[in-house]
Amino acid sequence: MKIIVCVKQVPDTAATMTVDNGAISWGDAPLIINPWDEFAVEAALNLAADQGGEVIALCLGKEGETEAIKHALAMGADSAVMISDPALEGADNVAASKVLTAAIQKIGEADLVLFGQQSVDTDTGLLPVQTARLLKWPSLTLVSKFESVNPGDGKIQVLRSMEEAGQVVDSSLPAVVSVTKDYGEPRYPSFMGIRKASKAEYPVWSLADLGIETPSSSIVWPEVTEPVKKEIVTEIIEGETPEEKAKSLVEKLIAEKVL
């Protein structure tokens, strides 16, 4: 089975984000693999182990954004491909998914393309569905469980999540799947894995390597701001006993018309 798992580098979720002269800054917080993508890598490694096959990590990013690829390789991915081109600065989701689609086609013969459910930076969650639409493959989003996978028959059954219910879906392969945290704990990279990843070499493809023109973007972000800090006056509820505090809180909530 050939599985491509798309990964992205992002600032740590513990980072304090600021805007300095219009540019987004995360201070000296570390850069990490998008936390959602770890679940996708974990799923890819388990599927490849069960079915036999290979896992290829695919990352679209700026030159030198190596954290996501290194982490995927350290977890156990067999190989990696980076896509990087200065012309992709400011690419929107549709443009990015066109680039990923071209790379997936260039890698060729994938049975599955896995994504995390979204990235913690732009939080759009659009790439899995848009890439699926461009590939004309079924889009299976928010998957927590692979019920059955039969690459020989070209069939897969997964459990997806919706607001009201879980949905067990039968689909043909190849397909695009986004994986949720409910899939299960991702493994920690082993010491050997980290060593292997630090020495790994992988191709960096430009748009010319993919044989495509710069895709146009519809969405522009003229401005990023820090949210206006709400002036919060914290009132500590006093009381001798928990009962008194509880009663006092209820009175305050009523007085402020929260209830």
């Binding site: 600032p11 979720t13 513990a14 980072a15 304090t16 984000m17 805007v19 959602w36 989701n93 549709v94 913690v120 939080d123 759009t124 969650g125 659009l126 569905v129 848009q130 699926a132 639409r133 461009l134 493959w137 079924p138 889009s139 989003t141 928010l142 999540s161 919706m162 607001e163 009201e164 219910a165 879980g166 949905q167 067990v168 879906v169 039968d170 043909s172 945290k181 519809s218 969405i219 522009v220 972000w221 003229p222 401005e223 990023v224 701001t225 949210p227 919060i232 006056v233 914290t234 500590i236 509820i237 928990p242 505090k245 509880a246 009663k247 809180l249 209820v250 909530l253 009523i254 209830l259």
Partner: protein, 347 residues
């Protein structure tokens, strides 16, 4: 510059996601201001009743496709129908709610129509007919202003970010039936079954949320059954703690949330996680019990109107974001708080 707006009504087997009506509410405000009209797009099987409701919430007309092919949520045939409706109706703006289905269909529609989509919008500006959207990024730590240079513009609205209109039962309009020129056999997916999620109030729609963190497992007065190992004993204690959280939530008709620490420790399912890698919520009232307030949790809930923090550590960061703070053990405070609220709400 008048606007034609198409609002997608998201539903599960005919039961609408309440946020669908928020799209119609926003559309009505825009068209009142700029002129224009709004059509609701309803796709499914046996969904005629939804059309009536859509008129009450402000649709001027309804575009409806009714077919067994569209009964279950399968993105591919549904996205085909959205693209067809857009070609028929020629809207300037297409609005989806930011539900799991709305997000998927918005993304696919943008590809089909070679335009862009602005996701999870919390603010919209349309002065002079030029639309610009505001959306949270980095889990709400920053805000981005976005514009879309191609037509139609597609947005998905964050649940509860825009007002739900009051239904007006005197409103009605015309229903246009869309031709479903799809072949069911050509769809690559089929739905084998659905699994019940066990009900409960949904976090995204909730007016009130009661959340538990690590503190739920720290009741010193509890003695776990002797046959449990340390990990099982901790989870047993956490279950008792979450029972108190649930008890308060039941009285308030609230949803139950959790911090990432509580989810990672397996105290409660991931579905309940609030934060940057969980759900981002903004209820009228958020009660944080035994949650210290890690930055990634704060990112997911700090836009709540009123935050109440209950924590035994008076230095916990959550207190800096809370309107009301109760310093003390949540296990001691929640039972009297629950009964006091029950008494008040019983009138």
């Amino acid at each position: 510059m008048t606007k034609k707006i198409l609002a997608y009504i998201d539903h599960f087997h005919g039961k609408a996601q309440p946020s669908s009506w928020e799209s119609l509410g926003l559309a009505a405000v825009i068209t009142k201001d700029l002129g224009g009209e709004t059509a609701a797009l309803i796709l499914g099987e046996g969904v005629n009743e939804l059309a009536e409701t859509a008129f009450q919430y402000g649709a001027d007309q309804v575009l409806l496709a009714d077919s067994p092919i569209l009964k279950n949520f399968r993105p591919e045939p549904l996205a085909d129908m959205v693209a067809q409706a857009v070609k028929d109706y020629q809207p300037d703006l297409v609005i989806f709610p930011t539900t799991s289905r709305g997000r998927t269909l918005a993304g696919m529609t943008a590809v089909d129509l070679d335009t862009g989509v602005m996701v999870d919008v919390i603010g919209l500006d349309w002065a002079g007919g030029e639309i610009s959207a505001t959306r949270p990024i980095y889990g709400g730590k920053l805000l981005a202003k976005l514009t879309c240079g191609t037509s139609p513009q597609i947005i998905t609205l964050r649940t509860r970010a825009f007002d739900k209109p009051e239904p007006d039962s005197s409103r009605s309009g015309s229903v246009t039936t869309l031709d479903v020129g799809l072949d069911g056999a050509g769809v690559a997916t089929s739905i084998a079954s659905h699994q019940d999620k066990g009900g409960g109030v949904s976090l995204s729609d909730a007016n009130v949320i009661v959340s538990g963190g690590r503190g739920v497992a720290l009741n010193p007065a509890l003695e776990p059954p002797a046959d449990l190992d340390d990990e099982a004993a901790e989870i047993w204690k956490a279950e008792q703690g979450f029972a108190l959280v649930q008890g308060l939530a039941d009285v308030l008709g609230a949803a139950v949330g959790a911090s990432r620490a509580a989810v990672d420790a397996k105290y409660i399912e991931y579905d309940h996680q609030v934060g940057q890698t969980g759900k981002v919520v903004s209820p009228d009232l958020y009660i944080a019990c035994g949650i210290s307030g890690a930055i990634q949790h704060l990112a997911g809930m700090r836009s709540s109107k009123v935050i109440v923090a209950i924590n035994k550590d008076s230095d916990a960061p959550i207190f800096n974001f809370a309107r009301f703070g109760l310093v003390g053990d949540m296990h001691a405070i929640l039972p009297p708080l629950t009964s006091a609220l029950k008494e008040y709400l019983a009138g």
